[in-house]
């Protein structure tokens, strides 16, 4: 009779996964930002740049739905913003992964703590507009 061996969840395993996730997240974000930069600079490179006065970003670059919509219309600035969203999402994904890791270790206290942190992060991204 064959016994199935499940991998033992340890802190080290979670840490390894987290490390890979962080690195991939930053890399993906950088690639998207770079692609957006190419489009943006090709189209708007010669225009004057002035950040001295604060106007605030247009609505479509402030909400996640707006950014997705504009990015898929190949607007350079929106593609950059999408990359920045991936970047902001990377630590959020890391916390979510930690919840899974703590749950696998049957650590209810830390599932709770990580969930609180995740809730705060999600509020910041979605609930504060």
């Amino acid at each position: 009779m064959k016994t199935i061996r499940l991998p033992v969840w340890t802190d080290r395993r979670v840490e390894d996964l987290v490390g890979n996730l962080l690195r991939s997240g930053v890399l993906l974000a950088a690639l998207v930002v770079f692609s957006g930069a190419v489009v943006y600079l090709a189209r708007h490179g010669g225009e004057p740049a002035d950040y001295r006065v604060f106007h605030g970003e247009p609505n479509q670059l402030r909400t996640i739905s707006g950014v997705l919509r504009e990015a898929f219309s190949f607007q350079g600035r929106a593609i950059i913003q999408l990359g920045l969203l991936f970047l902001i999402a990377t630590p959020v994904a890391r916390v979510a992964l930690s919840i899974v890791g703590f749950a696998a270790e049957r650590d209810r206290t830390y599932v709770g703590f990580a969930t609180i942190v995740l809730a705060i992060l999600l509020y910041s991204l979605f609930g504060s507009s």
Binding site: D16, G19, V26, G46, A49, Y51, L84, V95, F113, L125
Partner: protein, 283 residues
Amino acid sequence: MHIGSLTVWELTILVWIGSAIAGLLGSLTGLGGGVVLVPLLTLFFKVDIRYAIGASLVSVIATSSGAAAAYVKEGISNIRIGMFLEIATTLGAVLGAFLAAKVSTSAIAIVFGAVLLYSAYLSARTRVRLKSDEIPDPLATRLRLNGSFPTPEGIRHYFVRRVPAGFSLMFGAGALSGLLGIGSGAVKVLAMDQVMRIPFKVSTTTSNFMIGVTAAASAGIYLNRGYIDPGLSMPVMLGVLAGSLTGTRILVQAETKWLRLVFSVVILLLGAQMIYNGAAGKI
């Protein structure tokens, strides 16, 4: 070439170069290039401080996540300490981000300058090496914050003390991060190393681990408020990443002491300039 008459291309390249230098210096000195970015953008490029903070916050996430990836794999950072204290830092970050909307830009500039001055002071003085406590603290034990890490001499165990004090300091670190767009790594390390008696190596690696999450907590709010401009954040993020990655490659132990001194002086001067500009209403 007057600052007001730059094209998008020119500004992008100049900001990229400046950010790369900041990232390089930050990773070589271990002091974090984040504190230099906002002064660089506001003082030299005359960028409105709100755009500057947004861009800086984004790059803080990038560099800390990249660095944390390496530290986590070494098994030195303590994910429980990090996760528990992140409750405090993220709450603080949200508060800081909300404060940023209420407080005038001049006041933010002055606070930023003060933080820079204090950072210069912190890096100039020699760290008091505290002996790690051998007595377990009941709260730390209940929360399972105590841990161990590999050293050349073998596995070393440590116990964590003064949890409420550390938690409160972390809240402050988060608020600073949310208000100023910095990583607050120095405050985090201070709280863990000096107050909670966590070994220095564990403190620095865990702090690195926490900076990205803390910054993300306020970045969402900044994004929704329209402070994050893609045209500006793009060269900052890419530049700082390039600089800090290069820094980790060419790290030479012997050079860093001199560099840290120069960096401290630079931060001191920038801090003074920020306070002056803020007080004079130029920011």
